[in-house]
């Protein structure tokens, strides 16, 4: 009876250790992943609330026969913005662009240059990486 108890206890003890091992190797990484995801979400919400832009000037110039729309954007928020992550719509259509800076720090400006096919009135929407946007109209 003594051996039976010791043997059974030993088997159950080993199985409890195995269960704890399975739990820690399978579940803990997922808990950490979820924790990281919530932290990222919190950062995204915080950064969005701290992001703000203002289109301060729009000009149209003819350079060598190419019509170039120059859109000056000021970072009026408190988060630095990568210009490569911006999106620009001209009259509703997404356009490719070049920018004078790769990063716009708070209270600084960058000029975005877009090639357009015609003069005339333009409605411009500039969107940051996190969806914060500003509109401007160019009268032509």
């Amino acid at each position: 009876m003594g051996f039976s108890t010791i043997g059974a206890t030993l088997i159950i003890g080993i199985s409890i250790i195995a269960m704890l091992s399975i739990f820690s190797t399978e579940i803990l990484p997922v808990v950490f992943d979820i924790n990281d995801s919530y932290r990222d979400l919190e950062n995204r919400i915080l950064e969005k609330s701290q992001t703000s832009i203002n289109i301060t000037n729009v000009t149209l110039s003819n350079v060598g026969g190419n019509l170039l729309l120059n859109v000056t954007v000021k970072n009026t928020g408190s988060v630095s913005l990568n210009t490569s992550d911006f999106s620009i719509l001209v009259n509703g259509t997404k356009k490719s662009f070049t920018a004078t800076k790769s990063v716009i720090h708070p209270e600084k400006e960058a000029i975005f240059t877009i090639t357009v096919s015609s003069s005339g009135s333009k409605r411009i929407k500039v969107i940051t990486y996190n969806g914060v946007a500003d509109y401007a109209e160019y009268g032509g």
Binding site: M1, S4, A133
Partner: protein, 147 residues
């Protein structure tokens, strides 16, 4: 009598060890199942939290090309989003649009990239409408626009 006592002890021992083995096996099996399900559910939750997108069109200027209105969705989350008409469902004014009436391009977008939803213009009349795009894990964005 002596042999009988030994046999009884042996039977008790074998029974105890067998029962302990069965109980341990069940415990480990249940733990593995719970761990696997929790792991899958947890990974799914982490992915869901990391996915976000936004419709970025100018609501007053919806571009139209080759019989399709174009809506832009920007990946504002942390994960790659698969963009096809299996992962995205489109509702116009609350009505689900048939998969044959829209397509997306490209087939995936990384964070901060933009995809296009091309919606057959026969599904949208002139006037003001509400578009709802429902993406992976039921993440959605709603956009009011005027044609």
């Amino acid at each position: 009598m002596g042999f009988s006592l030994t046999s009884t002890h042996l039977i008790f021992f074998i029974t105890a060890i067998s029962l302990a083995g069965i109980v341990s096996g069940i415990f480990i099996s249940v733990t593995m199942n719970i761990s696997n399900e929790f792991s899958k559910k947890g990974q799914s939750l982490a992915d869901e939290i990391n996915i976000d997108f936004q419709i970025i069109n100018d609501p007053d200027n919806i571009p139209e090309t080759s019989g399709y209105y174009i809506f832009y969705i920007k990946n504002t989350g942390e994960n790659k989003i698969v963009t096809d008409n299996e992962t995205f469902q489109i509702f116009i004014d609350g009505n689900l649009i048939s998969k044959s009436k829209y397509y997306l391009t490209p087939d995936h977008i990384y964070p901060y990239e933009v995809a296009e939803i091309h919606v057959d213009n026969s599904t949208i009349s002139s006037g003001t409408h509400k578009l709802k795009a429902v993406g992976p894990y039921g993440i959605s964005d709603t956009f009011i626009f005027t044609i």
